[in-house]
Symmetry: C2
Subunit: 216 residues, 2 copies
């Protein structure tokens, strides 16, 4: 794996070879990239819907209609399609679940360490509740996971298409997101590009270093 | 580079060895991870302030005071500290800059291709302007870049600390962000952990697969 080469040569795939499936061991690594993504105060405020069947992809494609119809073939022809969704709220019982998991995973030497961590996390969540931006905050965390997924895919030789172009209301209804206290963040199609993928042949474009970096 | 091992063993560093500096060729790769990060409609709506001097880190540390003083040693002792900031607006002249860059980089076969891409990008920006969420949208894109940076750091053996715990008003004033139409998103410290980094010795904790994945 050459990181720099991967960074410069990955691309957003515009058309998939519907015959090629991502091997199961590679899919497993992609899902671990999502699961092991960092998030503020280890909140893990996300849920991922993974479609690898024609039926599952067709359900997601209901949200790529109308204005967003250009994305439908990507959803339908990719090997796997993942809907990244974020929690709307982080209620006390969820924070308790996180504390229980961290204890089970061996992060606390004693009850004091656990109490301190729980208090710190609850404090940060409280700040966002006061600011009224919990749902925005969790969406942002989910974008870190998106970054982990897209870079991991490229490193593993898997093509990807991140898509914000979908009807959130249709997708929410189809997946019952509101009842699960979730909102959709982004859809990521994964697989292998076809010859029709014009973007595979085009050079990448990025602003020059001087435009985006200031050294202080 | 073993991706799965990296995913499972990277951690948020709590204390840095202030004597160890990241070698220049590694820093160059970390900055390329930011620059080559994907963003919706290739908007690249970000600016990164890179501090590798004591003075630069002290300027950033002005924002890690009071409630956020626990983060100050991480900012001051890390090898490099990067402030990831996002554009507040995406005005027509900025969209023109993107189109010019893409043309210079050879992405357009002809004027029609350029016009189509420009129209598509402007349309998406317009949707967010109508929704009044441009600044939230650009912040989210910057979190993809955060993901690219954190995973790249781990792959390159560099420790990192993403920090949302800072005073945004102080940091904005110190870096003159408002005048540049920018808002701070997150601070990421980079370097090598010290023996005082308790988190380097603790196991990671993540929710189980069944809690965060639904296969459809």
């Amino acid at each position: 794996m050459d990181l720099l080469h991967t960074l410069k040569h990955r691309h957003t795939t515009k058309a998939y070879d519907s015959e090629r499936k991502i091997p199961a061991p590679v899919v497993a690594q992609l899902l671990e990239a999502l699961r092991y993504s960092p998030s503020s105060v280890n909140s893990q405020p996300w849920h991922f819907f993974v479609a690898d069947t024609a039926e599952g992809k067709a359900r997601i494609a209901k949200s790529t209609s109308g204005t967003f119809a250009f994305n439908a073939p990507r959803v339908l022809n990719a090997s796997h399609v993942i809907v990244l969704s974020a929690r709307n709220t982080l209620p006390p019982e969820y924070l308790q679940t996180l504390a229980d998991q961290e204890q089970a995973d061996g992060r606390y030497a004693d009850a004091d360490a656990r109490a301190l961590a729980h208090k710190g996390r609850s404090g940060f969540v409280g700040l966002h509740e006061q600011a009224g931006d919990v749902a925005t905050w969790t969406q942002k965390q989910t974008y870190i996971a998106q970054g982990f997924l897209l870079l991991s895919a490229a490193l593993l030789g898997v093509d990807a298409t991140p898509m914000e172009g979908f009807d959130a209301a249709i997708l929410s209804k189809e997946l019952g997101l509101a009842e699960k206290d979730l909102s959709p963040a982004v859809i990521v199609a994964l697989g292998y590009h076809s010859d029709a993928d014009f973007n595979a042949k085009l050079p990448k474009s990025r602003l020059p270093e001087k435009a985006i970096f200031s050294h202080i």
